[in-house]
């Protein structure tokens, strides 16, 4: 690990001011950042510890939703009675991620901002446009079993590893931020993570000196909520494909559907056309297949990850079938 200076700041604004300076990294849970610092993928000259700032509350909003502080731990968010009651897809997605020890440490904002687990991003001896812009992408013609089939570019096909963010995408959560001049803004989660294009090193919409303060959830949605995660072992593994579904149906007919996917793309993947096609449709294999077609439009494999295309289709069928039978 490269040497750094360690600081704590007295306020959220001070944290944003610190974040505007070069070489500074904010540390909260640290479960991803310290991992990357040990490998010298991340080499901050200053670490600013925000763990003692008052951003650890889950509060009800005036609209009837929930406001989740940036420092709320993943385990606390998953176990919150209101989340379990009204946002089951989020609780289940959080519990599908990492291990209990990591969830006790990892935070809401840190989970959103975690980096990809692409092997080549982690290996400092290999080219990677995300780590060293312009150096090339080793995954395109390399080992790409865990990589994206949607949303990637010739510069990068890394996936976003979060489960939590996939559920938040299905819920249309909003990310609240503050910058070093005290200005606040709200970013729809759909716009929070960027696609790689020519700049895979830029992963979020956050500007320099802008930090996440909270994530807000809308009022509870009607329907059944499911998070299905397909992975190489039954627990404690990243998603190959995951589906967050919120489906309202009655008598074999779907009234509304929200579907977000993990493991497929550089950000949680959601396609409006797939959901529109399911609205007022009979809950049958034909409708499920059409939805899968819409989600997978433009999908391409790079060799080792070709299996994700049929796996996505089958997982979506299984999830929609399960929901329509309940």
């Amino acid at each position: 690990m490269k040497a750094f200076s360690y600081e704590r700041v007295p306020s959220v604004t001070d944290a944003a001011i610190a974040a505007s300076k070069p070489g500074v990294k904010i540390i909260a849970g640290g479960t991803n950042l310290l991992d990357l610092m040990k490998l010298q993928v991340e080499t901050p000259s200053t670490l600013v510890d925000i763990n003692r700032l008052p951003l650890d509350k889950i509060e009800e909003t005036s609209e009837g939703g929930l406001r989740v502080g940036a420092l709320v731990r993943n385990s606390d968010l998953a176990a919150d009675v209101r989340v379990r009651q009204h946002y089951g897809v989020l609780s289940r997605a959080l519990l599908a991620g990492a291990s209990a020890q990591l969830r006790n440490k990892a935070t809401t904002a840190g989970n959103l901002l975690q980096r990809t687990r692409c092997y080549y991003f982690y290996d400092v001896t290999k080219p990677c446009n995300k780590r060293v812009p312009g150096s090339g992408c080793s995954a395109l013609a390399g080992f790409n079993r865990i990589h994206a089939i949607l949303g990637g570019s010739e510069a990068c096909i890394a996936t976003h590893p979060s489960d939590m963010a996939v559920a938040m995408r299905a819920l249309d959560a909003k990310v609240e931020t503050i910058d070093h001049e005290g200005r606040t803004r709200t970013i729809p989660i759909a716009d929070f993570h960027r696609l790689p294009g020519h700049t895979p090193d830029i992963e979020s919409d956050l500007a320099s000196g802008e930090i996440v303060t909270a994530v807000t959830l809308p009022p509870p949605l009607p329907g059944v909520q499911v998070y299905r995660k397909v992975r190489d072992r039954a627990s404690y593994a990243f998603a190959l494909v995951s589906v967050a579904a919120i489906v309202d149906s009655v008598g074999g007919r779907i009234r509304s559907a929200r579907l977000a996917f993990g493991g497929l793309a550089p950000r949680p993947w959601r396609i409006a056309a797939a959901e529109k096609g399911l609205t007022n449709a009979a809950a049958d294999a034909r409708a499920f297949g059409a939805a899968a077609d819409a989600v997978l439009e433009g999908a391409r494999g790079y060799g080792s990850n070709d299996f994700k295309i049929p796996l996505t289709r089958r997982t979506l069928h299984a999830v929609l079938g399960e929901i329509s039978r309940t």
């Binding site: 750094f4 479960t31 291990s99 209990a100 006790n104 039954a234 627990s235």
Partner: protein, 233 residues
Amino acid sequence: MSQATLPQTYPAKHGTDMEDTYAIFPTVEVTRRTVIETGTTALLLSSLPRGALAAGTGQVDPVPTSIALRINGHLHNLTLDPRTTLLDALREHLALTGSKKGCDHGQCGACTVLVEGRRINSCLTLAVMHDGQSITTVEGLAFGEDLHPMQAALVEHDGFQCGYCTSGQICSAVGMLAESREGAPSYVTADLTQSATELSDDEIRERMSGNICRCAAYPNIVAAIRQAMGEQT
């Protein structure tokens, strides 16, 4: 913590039995013990202030940071390179070697300790981040010569072979049962709106998935936890 368990390399002790101060940072002597235990020597060297070695490279010089940790009920004042993980602080600076370094990347769980009663991977957190907090390691679970019920259950059920993951398994299981008593759900909990009353074997396995046992003693670990769970309720 008795003085007899202190490593010879960190002798500067001041204060009372309950408040130990170690001057660790500036001098690290290579003793017979560390030469014999070459792995330990490598670890000690890796925790040296590397900024000083890399003078002139534009690298930041680490500023030693003073913190206080309450470990197994005893207050320890430490001055550390801020890069020191909680695990390295425990093992290399306080000679509490019960917590094990397996992968050092949060993937195996061998380093699991309880911070303010909650289980975490001590390898993926910096000691300075825990200034003023209470930490329980496997050394702090037993009451004198009486093993903690979880320790006794692991022994009784032969819940290990090589034993390297065992202290992490024990700390994790103690933390896991506390979470379960507070009603925390898991990924395999069928109904998230209900609090788990008694944990099935599937629940125990899912909740313990952050602790890897490469000897695959899992069936016996699950049996031990099931027994300890019954004794606590």
